[in-house]
């Protein structure tokens, strides 16, 4: 019952975000601030994780490739496929559910418990529009973050594979280009786009509708992380089923 209520409330929230718009000049400033907080500030961790995950995927593949009949270029191929299809869009999004998600929940939640949201409403402002829309717009840049993760991940794979002596440079590059299906990239970006909407709105929901004080803000962030991850994983499954099979 509770879940049904939450789901209903979530979709009503999505509708209410667009009910009454904030002044464009104000909205613009807010969007720039969110791009900074949500996108720019996440680049460091995204680059770091992508690089090392790319490296690890390569080493794992190389170590499991003992059969001399299988060409070494498969290492490059595997790195590309796993990074583009899953590691960049999905794995990074789970990390972002922790970073961006808990930031969103705790910042909106704090505004709720300190009555800053009431203060916005008293001034006749649609607080959902004011708080959530700039986050959604900023997260439209998320596929860009994911493409950086892909590049860096593949770079990490190349470094680990070639410098670690597992595969020759030209073999790796050959594998990287083997059987490339452009739709896989489209699939990855469609996923990233949907994930971006989830990352912006689900944590906002948990912050906006929370009750209590500072302690509950912490709890709300944790709950928000769990739910955002669960929804990302389910969405990933559904999208993969729909787009790839």
């Amino acid at each position: 019952m509770r879940y049904l209520h939450d789901i209903g409330e979530y979709f009503i929230m999505l509708k209410d975000i667009f009910r009454r718009m904030t002044k464009p000049s104000v909205l613009k400033t807010l969007i720039f601030k969110e791009v900074d907080d949500l996108i720019i500030n996440s680049m460091g961790i995204v680059i770091f994780i992508s690089f090392f995950i790319g490296g690890v995927v390569t080493i794992q593949t190389a170590l499991n490739l003992n059969n001399p009949l299988i060409p070494k270029s498969l290492i490059g191929f595997t790195a590309r496929q796993s990074i583009i299809l899953e590691f960049a869009p999905t794995f990074i999004s789970i990390i972002m559910a922790g970073k961006v998600g808990s930031y969103i929940t705790s910042s909106i939640g704090t505004m709720r418990v300190t009555e800053q949201i009431d203060a916005l409403e008293v001034m006749g402002i649609n607080s959902l529009n004011y708080l959530v829309l700039p986050k959604i717009v900023a997260m439209l840049l998320y596929p860009f973050v994911i493409s950086i993760a892909m590049f860096v991940g593949i770079g990490g794979a190349y470094m680990a594979g070639v410098m670690g002596g597992f595969v020759a440079s030209d073999q790796f590059l050959e594998g990287l280009q083997n059987d490339f299906i452009p739709f896989h990239l489209a699939y990855a970006f469609i996923k990233s786009f949907i994930f971006a909407l989830i990352l912006a709105t689900v944590p906002s929901y948990h912050g906006y509708y929370m009750k209590g004080g500072a302690l509950e803000v912490g709890q709300a962030s944790t709950t928000s992380f769990v739910w955002t991850s669960v929804i990302l994983i389910i969405a990933n499954y559904i999208l993969t089923q729909l787009l790839l099979s």
């Binding site: 904030t22 601030k33 704090t110 300190t114 009431d118 409403e121 008293v122």
Partner: protein
């Protein structure tokens, strides 16, 4: 003037406000008093239109909120200022930006015009020198004054304050009370203050509404409150030994 008729409010079946009839007078500091949990904040948020009443009407200078259309409600909102219990300043904005915010949202004034008005009200609450600081960098009393400045910057007709001196030391509390009182007089505003602070009641209580168990238990001003024989009121207002002595002195005409 704000007129409240038979106001009811329930949350999931539990009735918090059980039919309140009262009036808040223009140019006076109207006080809503009552114990914690009496429903003061709920009442105030109904007056602000933040909470929709379950039943009853609220009239602002003769116009009932529920009969206004969306645009008229928005116009009415512009005439309201609110000082929240915890100040509710936007922590991502400086003091001056906080005070400027309602002007930015509500008016088409140019930047210089807005700046001028902001400086005017900051000067009024004696905070010109901290205009570039952030809320976390100033004291609780200063935050309250910023909240007052933000509430009055748009020249409201109605000013609402939820426990404006809770969490402040007694001296600062009196300063805040007096500030709100003076601003009310200067601008002839209808001010409604929630409080459970007896100093405020006895200092600035010009029209006191005592809530108990969601009902209006007593209404009057500070000059007659000590004469009341309403038991819940006297035990609430004169709860400490000190205040009982004050009451004795008042009754003896001292």
């Amino acid at each position: 003037m704000i007129k409240v008729n038979d106001l009811h409010k329930s949350f999931s079946g539990e009735e918090i406000l059980k039919g309140i009839d009262t009036e808040f007078i223009q140019g006076k500091t109207n006080l809503i008093i009552g114990q914690s949990g009496a429903g003061k904040t709920v009442f105030l948020k109904c007056l602000l239109g933040l909470i929709l009443p379950t039943d009853g009407t609220i009239e602002y200078d003769g116009k009932a909120y529920s009969t206004l259309n969306k645009e008229q409600q928005r116009e009415l909102r512009k005439k309201m200022g609110m000082v929240f219990q915890g100040s509710a300043l936007f922590d991502s904005m400086s003091v001056a930006e906080n005070v400027m915010f309602p002007l930015k949202m509500f008016t088409k004034q140019r930047k210089e015009q807005r700046m001028e008005r902001v400086r005017e009200v900051l000067d009024r609450v004696d905070l010109l020198k901290v205009d570039n600081k952030f809320p976390s960098e100033i004291s609780g009393g200063m935050q309250k004054r910023v909240a007052i400045a933000r509430a009055i910057v748009n020249k409201p007709q109605y000013l609402f304050c939820d426990e404006p001196n809770s969490g402040l030391d007694p001296k600062t509390a009196i300063l805040i009370d007096n500030l709100i009182h003076e601003i009310t007089k200067e601008n002839n505003i209808t001010t409604v203050i929630n409080t459970h602070d007896m100093n405020s009641v006895l200092e600035i209580g010009e029209n006191i509404v005592f809530l108990k168990d969601g009902r209006l238990e007593w209404q009057g001003d500070k000059s007659i409150i000590y004469k009341t024989d309403n038991e819940s009121l006297t035990s609430f207002v004169y709860s400490s030994d000190l205040f009982q002595k004050v009451r004795k002195a008042q009754l003896q005409g001292l």
